[in-house]
């Protein structure tokens, strides 16, 4: 009996047959004063010990997720003739940035259960546990969160943007936007067949402020009083400087 179960389990797990090997063009992004977004090339290959299986084609899914944070989603309604925030839903955790790139439409490359298990589509990445108690229309708020973030470029769904050659070599380019926040950007690559994940690979991209950006940020958080006084000193000096220059020019 145990032997039969083991056999069935092994038969149901083709993962051993196909493995993903992947790399990134860079695993460190430095935010300097002139930072204007960054392009990450994700590439790799499928390692096999057996011939390519027949049947459903192989699909590749690449995701990059920025640091997660709690957010509040508010909805406006018309009250007394003006539009004001009425209902609000607290979302436990939503990444500041999220991109998912695939070789085929997400619904084809992944079943719903696998999506729930691996948290791949934006709707599954956003975690909201007790939202049903906050509003009767909680799902609308979550859909709106994703829609608003997609509109401003923070969430990207790039279906069929991963190029897969001869079922073996794959690559895709993902743009990190200019309004990037600091943190570790978790990058995952999935191989799927018939909507089932057969192998995955995870790594991180380290996004850090450098130079002047680093100095200003640290001073503001570690020496806030000195930072505030320095800001005022700059303001006063600039005000005086402009006044003095204009007086010279007028003479």
């Amino acid at each position: 009996m145990i032997r039969l179960a083991l056999f069935l389990w092994l038969a149901a797990l083709p993962a051993a047959a196909e493995e993903v090997i992947a790399a990134l063009s860079q695993d460190r992004v430095s935010i300097s004063t002139s930072f204007d977004g960054s392009e990450i090339l994700v590439f790799g290959a499928v390692k096999r010990t057996e011939p390519i299986p027949r049947g459903q084609p192989l699909q590749v899914i690449v995701t990059i997720a920025g640091p997660a944070e709690p957010v509040t989603v508010r909805r406006k309604d018309r009250r007394f003739g003006i539009w004001i925030n009425t209902e609000a839903v607290e979302v436990d955790s939503a990444p500041s940035f999220y991109a998912v790139a695939t070789t085929a439409p997400l619904s084809e490359a992944l079943t719903r259960t696998e999506d729930q298990r691996w948290r791949i589509s934006p709707r599954r990445v956003v975690r909201a546990v007790d939202v049903a108690g906050m509003s009767d229309h909680a799902p609308d708020f979550l859909t709106a969160l994703i829609r608003v973030r997609q509109a401003n470029g923070s969430y990207v769904i790039a279906e069929e943007e991963v190029i897969l050659r001869d079922d073996t070599l794959f690559s895709t380019e993902i743009d990190l936007p200019a309004n990037l926040t600091e943190g570790n950007y978790d990058t995952r690559i999935f191989l799927t067949r018939d909507g089932q994940v057969i192998d995955s690979f995870a790594t991180s991209i380290f996004v850090r402020k450098v130079g002047l950006e680093r100095w200003i940020y640290n001073l503001a958080h570690e020496q806030p009083l000195i930072y505030g006084l320095l800001s005022l000193a700059i303001a006063i000096a600039a005000g005086w400087g402009a006044s003095a220059v204009f007086q010279l020019v007028r003479r």
Partner: protein, 317 residues
């Protein structure tokens, strides 16, 4: 997105506290335009700049805090120009400032109470619409009448200020030589206090309330009003900057520098323009500007927004 042309990269600047990348020339230009208005009218310009910063994607908390820092610079630049012209009433400024600091402290308390009740956002907006609307309309009508009167009776006509009224019946009289006034210290203190409360609640310097109050309630000459208003705004906004920097860490030095480089130059130009215009022309222009901002904010409240949902920072865990 994704186009990295060289010219764009050259002017884009990443702001360390706001954590967004913006066009440096856009910020210099915004600072310049608001600086001109500031020098002309004696308003800090916060009521204009803060909504503009929201529009280009700066987080609201950073916009309000950094704007306070920038107003310090443009007001200081403007005050120096007015000091040279001897159009600052320091005595009046100090009385207003005393009231202003008390008011600002009270205002912070009021703000916290409103925040606990929720809807602080809406109340701030309504405050803007009501105050800008009332002040703008009153100034517009008054200065229009003044211009008509001046046309009818010839250009030499001076506007007669209302000198006699309840303001002059109060005790604690002080001599304000630069303003040519001998009035009680209570009305300026109370004006400073009310403006201080509103400034703290609305997150601005309060010049657009202060200037008309000085003209119409205190009866100060328009030319002295501008410099005196700027003088007291420096201190109120410096106080606000320090408060924001130490409690919320939301002052963005790089953003402030870009705005104030444009701002201080603009303030100097604005002061030059201001001295060439007639007092009632200056007032009608300020009235039009105040009404325009009021109209924009009112339409935001009345017209159905394209996106009903908005995302804010979480409650924090």
């Amino acid at each position: 997105m994704g186009h990295h042309s060289l010219e764009r990269a050259a002017v884009q600047i990443y702001l360390p506290i706001a954590e967004v990348s913006v066009n440096a020339f856009l910020l210099l230009g915004l600072g310049g335009v608001v600086g001109i208005l500031s020098g002309m009218f004696g308003v800090g310009g916060g009521f204009l700049m803060t909504p503009l910063l929201f529009m280009i994607g700066i987080p609201p908390a950073v916009a309000v805090a950094t704007e306070a820092n920038q107003i310090v610079a443009s007001s200081f630049s403007g005050v120096l120009a007015h000091v040279r012209r001897k159009t600052v009433d320091f005595r009046m400024g100090l009385v207003l400032l005393a009231g202003g600091l008390v008011g600002a402290a009270l205002g912070v308390q009021v703000f916290n109470i409103l925040r606990e009740l929720g809807q602080v956002d809406l109340l701030v907006r309504l405050c803007y619409v009501v105050f800008l609307g009332v002040i703008g309309s009153l100034m517009f009508v008054e200065s229009l009448n003044a211009i008509r009167k001046a046309r009818r009776k010839g250009p030499v006509q001076r506007i007669v200020r209302r000198q006699r009224g309840w303001v002059h019946a109060l005790p604690m009289k002080m001599k304000f030589r630069t303003s040519g006034l001998y009035i009680s210290a209570i009305p300026p203190f109370v004006v400073g206090l009310i403006v201080g409360v509103l400034a703290a609640v609305m997150g601005v310097g309060g010049g657009f309330i202060m200037v008309p109050a000085m003209i119409y309630i205190l009866g100060m000459p328009t030319k002295v009003v501008v410099g005196t208003s700027l003088f007291q705004i420096i201190f109120v906004t410096a106080f606000a900057t320090l408060l924001h920097a130490t409690t919320n860490y939301t002052v963005d030095m790089l953003l402030a520098v870009l705005l104030l480089v444009g701002g201080v130059v603009g303030a100097q130009i604005g002061t030059q323009i201001g001295t060439r215009l007639k007092a009632e022309q200056l007032r009608i222009l300020l009235a039009v500007m105040v009404l325009a901002v009021c109209g924009k904010l009112a339409s935001d409240l009345l017209i159905e927004p394209a996106e009903l949902y908005s995302i804010g920072a979480g409650a924090g865990h």
